[in-house]
Subunit: 211 residues, 2 copies
């Protein structure tokens, strides 16, 4: 079983990922601003620590097997938080991971983060921040899995995905629960190869993507 | 005489730098969103081009000798513009500079951009964006001069600066005109060595800093 540091464990995806990791017997370290958001999870393998990500959070990385970064605004908070969390806290998480020699970093990124200029509209600053953070991770030398889900849905997961871009924009969607499952599969993945993948609703078992 | 691409030529520092460069006989290319802001400068060595920096601006770099980046919010516009201009347009300017083999890039950065975490308060997201852009330039391999002025003042320049951090925060200031002069001196600098320097009001001639 792995010791997994989930940054953003009280978020919509992070909390589902935390629950699934605990179910499998993993130990989860959850530095969160509001510990009460995880008070309904009763599991001795969960360590909840109060932590503001705008302050130094380097102390949580020692002895960790996998870092999951799923904190951030999803483009919905102010752009100042996008800079401080999606970009800056992400880059620091990569630095801390490298320093503590944690062997794997899983980044929850976004469709569009690969090429923010291809996107018009309000999401662009968010996608630029995600892009820059992803590039920082890629260039860090840290072994990484970058997940780029489509538009997130609040519906039960199907455990079935596709990783190629749908022709129809309306199909570029995925339930948050399936992103959480993809995180869990990424934690369990044994290959050391770096991986960057889109994630959309589809018909392939998620486990196959992370074989 | 050099062909200087001034990105942000209609800004408070950029316009003064443009004027001083033209006075010395340099050719200035000024891609700006609002050309009318430069309509009071009558000089055949000035090429004003209408350009939104959130769109592709790669076409202005060919045959250029020096790129000056002094566009941006100074922390006063919304954080979404901080991401799109101070960070993203800056990184693209570095990419375009590299691709066009322009031999020098002068970045107008800010005090605090070296270590944004040392600063508290509202300026922090802006300083993170400047930091990340500066680091991108440093790692690009492009020959660079990074200017990190203190708090900017709207008063006549003295042509005298200091480059060490004052003990007293109130002395960490500099007239915008002196930053413009520092840009001009940077353009004329013959050393190929990269340089990162603070700039505050002081008693050393600006020209000495860029010997």
């Amino acid at each position: 079983m792995a010791k997994v540091l989930v940054i953003g464990a009280s978020g919509q995806i992070g909390k589902q990922a935390t629950g699934k990791l605990l179910e499998l017997g993993h130990h989860v370290i959850a530095p969160v601003r509001s510990p009460e958001k995880l008070s309904d999870i009763d599991n001795s393998n969960l360590s909840v620590i109060e932590q503001d990500l705008e302050k130094d959070f380097s102390s949580h990385f020692e002895g960790v097997d996998v870092v999951v970064f799923t904190a951030g605004s999803g483009g919905n908070t102010g752009a100042d938080k996008t800079i401080m969390i999606d970009l800056w806290a992400a880059q620091k998480a990569v630095d801390y991971t490298k320093r503590a020699k944690v062997p794997k970093f899983i980044m929850v990124s976004s469709i569009g983060a690969g090429d923010p200029d291809s996107i018009q509209g309000e999401m662009r600053p968010y996608l630029v921040a995600k892009h820059v953070a992803d590039e920082y991770l890629i260039k860090s030398g840290v072994n990484h899995i970058i997940l780029r889900p489509g538009t997130l849905l609040n519906e039960p997961g199907t455990h079935l995905v596709r990783t190629d871009m749908p022709d129809n924009q309306d199909e570029a969607v995925i339930p948050r629960e399936d992103v959480a499952t993809a995180i869990v599969e990424s934690v369990g993945r044994t290959s050391e190869d770096n991986l960057i993948t889109y994630l959309f609703k589809g018909d392939e078992p998620i486990s196959k993507v992370f074989d």
